[in-house]
């Protein structure tokens, strides 16, 4: 297929340039309107009206001059041509063809100071010019595009809104070629252009094509051999049946569906939280495809599974719940400060995705105004959005908001869970109450001691001013260790729960790093012959403030040691800092470091005896001397520096528990234990992202999509153009069940067509309607509507059985054509829209990776489950977490986590697309990063190494035999004599080149040379393109 046209869209560019040109011509012609320009609504005039005039009127005038208000200002409405001509109290608003005489001109140009319109900011000169142009051209007002009310009898209904009927089979000349009706529709179109179908593909090509198509993997040499050997009739049908029955089929086609379900394992957008349960939806989809679940049921489950009877299949009893994850998987702005906007944005994402997925309609475009091109009104939008307003998707709309997860368990188990959770909530609230009270008491005491704090603060400031502050002894590299000083390596703790790292953060020196349990603790025993004052210096590295407490013999001597970041976490960022001078007793002393979170990377500390008349003291020591709390003294010092003896008001420390009196501390600890134990005993039920029924409510139409400007209430119903204007309004329940049933009704004009078109697209690389997600006016028209309608109607008649549809397609002669080039046909139909040959296609991102793993023998075929290693709702990415997920798993790519905003780089390179938005038509681009991936990525290097080792291990083969084996495995065909000769020469040449390299490469030269050959094999076009 012609990929470059999509890549570039020169058509779009030319189109926009054309529109601009029209606009320019229009403006230039303003001064003197040529009467010839006053044409009845043409396409260009429609475009001008819809792009420029309707939005302008809607934005600037409708608020006061339309049916949005019960009493239009001045009795004037501007929302139809008739209304403009009728005018208001002041007479007609316009004189078509005569701008100068139009009242509208006087209003918008502020000709009359008393009647300046619109109120507020005046229209821009360009906007006025647009209006002038439009009125001068006779004020054409196209009635067919979205104006209210819907035209009851459009002259010729748009094709997509008329339900499909089984079309008559066309007459064809080459009737014998047609294996089934599908072929006749294709053949008729080809014959009409004087073209003939390409000859059938050979069997090797065919099995390779079908195997990639249905499973996303290459056929094994044995599978190829078996097919070649099967001389009985129906051999290809047997291959197709085998492939459809293999679990890999569901993995391949389920992944296609995940593209339109915008599946991902994380939220993306602003707060990239992990979706720890999303994989259940993914596995459900794979199961549904493998089970050949009727597609109408599949659709209904995703929209309203919770309201359907559960499946009786063993292991599938919760599938109907899991399926509704479809509605919940969207990316959400979880930190939106405005909860109403957040909710409406989430609903919008659901409506927009659902509209495109099932109906191929861009309903989301009607959120702010009537759809500009399709007959979808803003009322239609809010009528549908009301269904999701009445659905519970979210647990809450706070910052950061939580989506709902539903326990997949029996009623009794869920009840038990609910009881534990209520119990926990109660105890947590009791705990916070206690903390609150004790904190208040703490503050009260501190405030009573206000004068003491002021005094102590002055002392601290005096000490600081007198230079009785400390500087690290070993600050300079040239400093020498003073007499009597001792250095203690941080790793030499006697008790502690932190790791000693000597390889990464502590490479070469050894540091403490967090091991998991909090608080981080390390204790040291220090023995002194005499009591005395020692200065404590610390050496550590930390990129942020990881200050910790230091206790000497059970007493806090430093509340915030090591608060200064050093610029990094590695040894080259280590620095010395002075903590303070402390009095150590004779004999054993216990020095303890403690932090509620992770330690900085502590390398060592130094104790230096202090001499001199006045011993420097730290803030903590001053506090201890007079029995004050160091945290509050720090506040007092800060306040004294800012305001002298002025205002001093204590604030509660962030984690005040450690400052509580013994009794309160013990109580808190006991409560923590209880909470912990209830937490442990809580039933651990599997959960799924799922929706449920919310409070039934309608939405009001929101002008410009803004909830601060609500208009009429919109009863919940389906779009008028698809379901008529005489609909009953949904009363009870959200309406999701009604929506699910309506979508899958046989007479729904769009659902079946949109679905079979997707299937066609995934088989052939291009849809019959090329714009798979847009069947509206701006989408493409079907290349072959009888074919589309035949596929859709026969699919529905057949009970929405997808595997039958696959068979219909794969067993057609259309599918089995070769990709042979034909200059004549290429000239007549360069994009192969008519299917004169089978289109050659590049493998998708997943298939590229899976195939490389497959031919190297490394592919792990385990199905299902999660490869995520994150806690619930944890942030997947943060500033320091660049590669949140290990993608080196040899599982099929389908099972690799899809992390929004930090997509796997292989996916980024190979057109996986943005998993934030649905996409039924992945593009295929050819860009240099793909080649770099083949040349340098770890996946390719490790796989090709394994492949080379496998080839070299074949003792029964010589080198030529190994080359032939490589060709069979990768391409499913024998290598030609020339290919074998060239490959042998290449391997030899590379081996020699490696032998000329320095040291270690030399001894692996043979393996490395074979790896080079394997790299070429999997990088070649023949490997990544399917004929």
């Amino acid at each position: 297929m012609n990929l470059t046209s999509r890549t570039l869209s020169p058509v779009v560019l030319a189109g926009s340039a054309l529109a601009a040109l029209l606009a320019t011509v229009g403006l230039a012609a303003l001064s003197q309107v040529d009467p010839r320009l006053r044409v009845p609504p043409t396409a260009a005039a429609n475009t001008h009206f819809e792009n420029k005039i309707r939005p302008l009127l809607a934005e600037k005038c409708f608020e006061c001059h339309s049916d949005r208000t019960k009493t239009p200002q001045g009795g004037l409405r501007l929302d139809s041509r008739a209304a403009l001509l009728k005018g208001g109290a002041q007479g007609a608003a316009i004189v078509p063809g005569d701008w100068e005489q139009s009242a509208l001109r006087r209003a918008v140009t502020h000709a009359d100071p008393a009647k300046r319109m619109p109120p507020g900011a005046a229209l821009s000169p360009v906007e006025i010019a647009y209006l002038k142009e439009w009125v001068a051209a006779g004020a054409p007002w196209p009635e067919t595009s979205g104006s209210k009310p819907m035209p009851s009898k459009p002259t010729k209904p748009f094709w997509a809104f008329v339900p499909p009927k089984p079309p008559a089979l066309p007459r064809v000349r080459l009737g014998s070629w047609a294996a089934n009706p599908l072929d006749r529709f294709i053949l008729a179109a080809l014959e009409a252009k004087g073209l003939t179908p390409a000859p059938p593909a050979d069997r090797r090509t065919l099995i390779r094509r079908a195997t990639f198509d249905l499973t996303g993997l290459p056929p094994t040499p044995d599978e190829v051999k078996a097919f070649l050997a099967d001389k009985q009739p129906g051999a290809f049908k047997r291959v197709v049946d085998r492939l459809l029955a293999s679990p890999a089929y569901g993995e391949r086609w389920g992944r296609h569906w995940l593209d339109v379900a915008r599946y991902a394992d994380s939220n993306g957008l602003d707060e990239n939280l992990v979706f720890p349960q999303a994989w259940r939806y993914r596995d459900y989809v794979v199961r549904a495809f493998n089970q050949d679940k009727p597609i109408d049921r599949f659709i209904r489950e995703q929209i309203a599974g919770d309201l359907l009877e559960p499946s009786r299949d063993p292991g599938a009893e919760f599938d109907h719940i899991i399926a509704t994850g479809y509605l919940s998987l969207g990316a959400k702005m979880l930190a939106e400060d405005d909860p109403t906007k957040q909710e409406l944005d989430i609903i919008d994402e659901q409506v927009d995705t659902l509209g495109k997925t099932f109906l191929g309609m861009t309903i989301g475009c009607a959120r702010c105004h009537d759809h500009k091109f399709d007959p979808l009104s803003a009322k239609d939008y809010y009528a549908l959005a009301g269904i999701f307003k009445s659905t519970k998707t979210m647990q809450n709309f706070t910052v950061v908001a939580s989506w709902q997860e539903v326990a997949l368990a029996s009623e009794a188990e869920r009840l038990k869970l609910a009881r534990s959770e209520a119990d926990l909530a109660e105890r947590r609230s009791a705990r916070s109450k206690l903390v609150e009270q004790s904190t208040a008491a703490l503050l009260k005491t501190a405030n009573q001691d206000l004068e003491k704090y002021r005094l102590a603060a002055r002392e601290v400031i005096r000490l600081q001013a007198a230079g009785l502050t400390l500087s690290p002894v070993l600050e300079k590299a040239s400093s020498v260790l003073p007499q009597g000083a001792r250095v203690v390596e941080a790793e030499d703790y006697i008790r502690g729960n932190v790791l000693k790292d000597r390889d990464t953060y502590g490479k070469g020196v050894g540091v403490l790093v967090n091991a998991g349990p909090l608080p981080n603790v390390a204790e040291y025993e220090l023995e002194f012959a005499e009591a005395g004052t020692y200065q404590l210096d610390l050496r550590y590295a930390s990129a942020d403030d990881r200050s910790f407490r230091i206790l000497l013999n059970g007493r806090v001597v430093a509340a915030k040691a090591a608060s200064a970041p050093t610029g990094g976490f590695y040894p080259d960022s280590q620095k010395w800092f002075a903590v303070g001078a402390f009095t150590f007793s004779k004999g054993k002393n216990l020095l303890k470091f403690e932090r509620d979170s992770y330690f900085p990377h502590i390398d060592k500390f130094l104790l230096v005896p202090r001499m001199g008349t006045e011993v420097p003291r730290t803030q903590e020591e001053v506090a201890a001397e007079v029995g004050l709390v160091p945290e509050f003294l720090a506040q007092a010092v800060e306040a004294a520096k800012m305001a002298g003896d002025g205002k001093l008001e204590f604030r509660a420390p962030e984690k005040p528990e450690s400052l509580f009196p013994e009794s309160a501390r013990a109580l808190v600890a006991r409560m923590d234990q209880e909470i912990e134990s209830i937490n442990k005993g809580k039933p651990n039920l599997p959960k799924a992202m799922a929706v449920s029924e919310g409070k039934a409510a309608n939405l009001n139409l929101l002008l410009r999509g803004n909830y601060l400007t609500p208009a009429d209430e919109c009863g919940r119903r389906f779009p008028a153009v698809l379901n008529g204007t005489q609909q009953s309004i949904i009363g009870k329940g959200s309406g999701r069940l009604e929506l699910a049933n309506w979508l899958t009704r046989p007479d729904n004009a769009l659902t079946s067509r949109v679905f079979v078109n997707r299937i066609w697209r995934w088989h052939f690389g291009k849809g019959i309607v090329p714009s798979t997600d847009n069947f509206g006016a701006l989408g493409d028209r079907p290349q072959n509507q009888p074919l589309l309608d035949w596929l859709a109607t026969s699919f529905v008649q057949d009970g929405w059985q997808l595997k039958n549809l696959h068979r219909r397609i794969l067993l057609s002669n259309t599918y089995q054509m070769s990709s042979r080039y034909d200059a004549k046909a290429a000239k007549a139909d360069p994009e192969n829209r008519l299917h004169w040959r089978h289109e050659r296609r590049r493998l998708e991102a997943e298939a590229v990776r899976d195939s490389i793993l497959a031919v190297s023998g490394k592919l792990d075929r385990t199905m299902g489950g999660s490869l995520l290693n994150f806690k619930d709702r944890q942030y997947v990415t943060d500033t320091s977490n660049a590669d949140p997920v290990n993608y080196m798993s040899p599982r099929r790519s389908l099972y690799l986590p899809v992390i929004r905003s930090a997509l796997y780089d292989v996916y980024t390179a190979f057109d996986f697309g943005d998993p934030t938005v649905m996409n039924g038509d992945r593009p295929t681009t050819t860009i240099a990063p793909q080649a770099l991936f083949m040349m340098n990525s770890r996946v390719v290097l490790e796989s090709t190494k394994a492949m080379a080792e496998g080839l070299l291990a074949k003792q029964d083969l010589d080198d030529a035999g190994r080359i032939r084996s490589g060709w069979e495995t990768c391409y499913g065909r024998p290598a030609t004599g020339v290919e074998v000769a060239k490959a042998l020469k290449f391997v030899l040449g590379v081996e020699t080149a490696f032998r000329n390299q320095p040291q270690d490469r030399t001894k692996n030269a043979r393996l490395l040379a074979w790896q080079s050959l394997c790299k070429a094999l999997v990088s070649a076009n023949e490997f990544v393109y399917v004929e």
Binding site: A14, S901, D914
Partner: protein, 477 residues
């Protein structure tokens, strides 16, 4: 309207001709490298529909490329480039008007800036003591004091600043610009982002969204990697020496051409053969471009590479110049998520400013010295500003209603202040510039009409500025 715009994107236009036609001159270095690449460019232009081929602007451009210096977290305008005497006078008093309807956290009374402002240069523009080096460049800068956006959270605000939308996934401005103009050096991607942040939208801040993948930003490292370790994904492997890789690619080319002879003409297959050659060239070009060992000690010093505090960001800025010089269309450097001072404003704004002040001034001086500044647009700023009222004693909250952006080069007015905030710097009030307006203006400076640079996706013609955006003509020289 420029006739080129209507024509096929792949149309042949000689670079020499473009140079002659262009109203804007080139820096001499860029000029030389351009001529050297001309043959290559011509060959490329002839190739069928190359998405990155050079496209002429819609009308004569003032700048050819952009460097965006992003200070992530929300630098405070009233402590940097927007002095507010009344804020100092009324320190500690309540703000005399309503605070915004939507806020991100509770705030207190007015908090004066702890820093003094000084006048710089002939223009006498006031810059705080946080930015003495940037202040020294005041006569080359345009200060837009009246910026405002719509989102008060980092995630939304970053997406809005980078893509124009805080609600949906949209292409990044770098992608739009590369889509509009192509790229001048096919050995490198057209849009590069150096050490970008992975939070607050992450890759969506440099993704091409629905635009073709060729326009996506290529990250060089990320925020957790120091600038001297930052690399393009898959750019090298340790085991294959260059000459052996050359043998591999020759052999592969031979296989691919043999297959092509069997299949008949196919653009996809042909394009893929070329892509390996391009990748091979890129593999040599990228490390060479990142190798700063050939820079003079004076240049290194200019960017602060001699000081551990400024070394990392200085290296990012220096790389930005090197990329731009070789024809990369859009380069972003990011001072990652550091500017979010809800508390400890005095300490942390000081250390943040220390890290970027000299590198930014170095970049501006270096670009100017090499003649690159006149056709490079430099944009400097954060995703929003901060409140003039205090939070947590010594901090300020997010404030999308007022912040300052610095522009340089690309024919914008210099030594010039545009727009103003209220007496306390809470809201933009005079000549307000929304982020959409900034985007519209950036495209205008690059010779593109933001209303006509569109791409059809899902039934709609999308653009960077959505349905808004006014060109800020007041800053154009």
């Amino acid at each position: 309207m420029n006739a080129h715009w209507n024509s096929n994107i792949g149309k042949r236009i000689s670079r020499r001709e473009m140079l002659r036609l262009s109203s804007v001159g080139f820096g001499s270095v860029a000029f030389m490298s351009l001529l050297a690449e001309e043959a290559e460019a011509d060959k490329r232009a002839a190739a069928p529909a190359d998405p990155l081929a050079i496209k002429p602007p819609m009308f004569p451009a003032r700048a050819k490329r952009v460097i965006f210096v992003f200070l992530h977290g929300g630098p405070s305008q009233v402590d940097t480039f927007d002095p507010k005497p009344l804020l100092t006078r009324d320190h500690g008093k309540p703000v005399p008007f309503a605070k915004p309807r939507i806020v991100s956290g509770a705030t207190e009374n007015l908090l004066k800036s702890p820093w003094e402002f000084k006048r710089y240069g002939k223009s006498g523009i006031e810059v705080s003591d946080l930015f003495p080096h940037v202040g020294g460049c005041a006569d080359d800068l345009c200060f837009i004091n009246s910026m405002h956006g719509s989102n008060s959270r980092h995630g939304g605000a970053l997406l809005e600043l980078h893509t124009g939308s805080d609600t949906f996934v949209r292409p990044s401005m770098g992608s739009w610009i590369t889509y509009g103009l192509g790229t001048e050096n096919r050995n490198m991607p057209g849009f590069i982002t150096i050490c970008p942040t992975l939070t607050h939208g992450g890759v969506n801040n440099w993704s091409s969204a629905f635009l073709p993948a060729a326009y996506q930003g290529t990250p060089v490292g990320n925020a957790s990697i120091s600038a001297d370790q930052a690399k393009i994904p898959f750019i090298q492997n340790a085991q294959t020496p260059k000459e052996i890789q050359r043998m591999e690619i020759d052999f592969l080319g031979e296989m691919n051409r043999a297959e092509l002879a069997k299949t008949g003409p196919d653009h996809g297959l042909e394009g893929r053969i070329d892509s390996f050659e391009l990748a091979f060239r890129m593999q040599s070009a990228a490390p060479e471009l990142q190798d700063i060992s050939g820079e003079t000690p004076e240049t290194l010093k200019l960017y602060g590479l001699d000081d551990p505090k400024t070394k990392n960001f200085g290296q990012q800025c220096l790389m930005a110049r090197r990329f731009c010089e070789r024809g990369v269309r859009f380069v972003q450097v990011t001072h990652s998520y550091k500017w979010d001072q809800h508390s400890d404003l005095r300490r942390d704004h000081a250390s943040n400013a220390m890290e970027v002040d000299k590198p930014i001034s170095g970049l501006l001086k270096d670009l100017k010295g090499r003649g690159l500044l006149k056709d490079t647009l430099v944009v400097i700023g954060g995703e929003f500003g901060r409140t003039p009222v205090a939070q947590g004693g010594d901090g300020r909250d997010h404030n999308p209603h007022a912040f300052t952006m610095l522009l340089a080069g690309g024919g914008v007015k210099t030594g010039f202040k545009y727009g103003a905030t209220d007496d306390y710097g809470y809201y933009s009030v005079e000549n307000k510039v929304h982020i959409h307006d900034l985007h519209a203006t950036m495209l205008h400076i690059l010779g593109m009409d933001h209303k006509r640079l569109t791409y059809r996706y899902a039934g709609r013609d999308f653009r960077l500025t959505d349905v808004s955006g006014e060109i800020v003509t007041g800053i154009l020289g």
